[in-house]
Symmetry: C2
Subunit: 120 residues, 2 copies
């Protein structure tokens, strides 16, 4: 069996979820939070070049999906802490599988691209 549910049915919610967790920033947020809760700016600085708008969108979506929790401490200056939920933490395993693959095969892909560009 290829996919026990069928990711091929366009109406299948699995595909919607694939869209979510396939998102570049979602993956990086999960990896960032893997070691423990972080604040907004810590996430922003840790991830690299993320527009705050985009990071906010990503975090809101993940909160909505139950992957992270958002805690606001009404202090001055404000403090907002993001934490992986157990479900979010369970995502780290498959994500690690993918990033491991990427790191393993990155040289081969780069070489394939070069070959392709040369022959073109």
């Amino acid at each position: 069996m290829v996919t026990k549910g069928n990711a091929f049915d366009p109406n299948c919610p699995t595909r919607a979820i694939l869209d979510r967790i396939g998102d570049k920033w979602t993956v990086l947020v999960v990896l960032s939070l893997r070691a423990g809760p972080l604040r907004f700016t810590e996430l922003r600085d840790g991830i690299g070049r993320v527009a705050p708008k985009v990071l906010t969108q990503t975090l809101r979506r993940m909160e909505r999906d139950g992957l992270i929790t958002r805690e606001v401490y009404p202090e001055i200056p404000p403090r907002v802490v993001y934490t992986l939920t157990p479900m979010g933490a369970s995502l780290t395993a498959p994500i690690a599988a993918v990033t491991d693959w990427a790191e393993t095969h990155m040289p081969a892909i780069t070489k394939a691209q070069q070959r392709y560009d040369e022959s073109a």
Copy 2:
């Protein structure tokens, strides 16, 4: 160690590769080709609603990245067969990890979304 290479360095090629294989259609193409080579229309029909333009773009990118091969048989009507390379086939394992996760946690995510929408 979080990611042996650092997916957090925006200049790290790993991130570019994550963008690629995180692509919705790339995932579905890999899953489709897992059982064996397919023709263009077979892919299109099997995947569901894909605009041919988008499928072409996806396939060209995957060919460039060395994930699939494209064989043209100059017959009438024309026949073009797409096949996973060994590297492409090795992608099925991590992808399966992700889709399994998605299928397992889909109900929980759906429920989380409903709770969120109700409370909003």
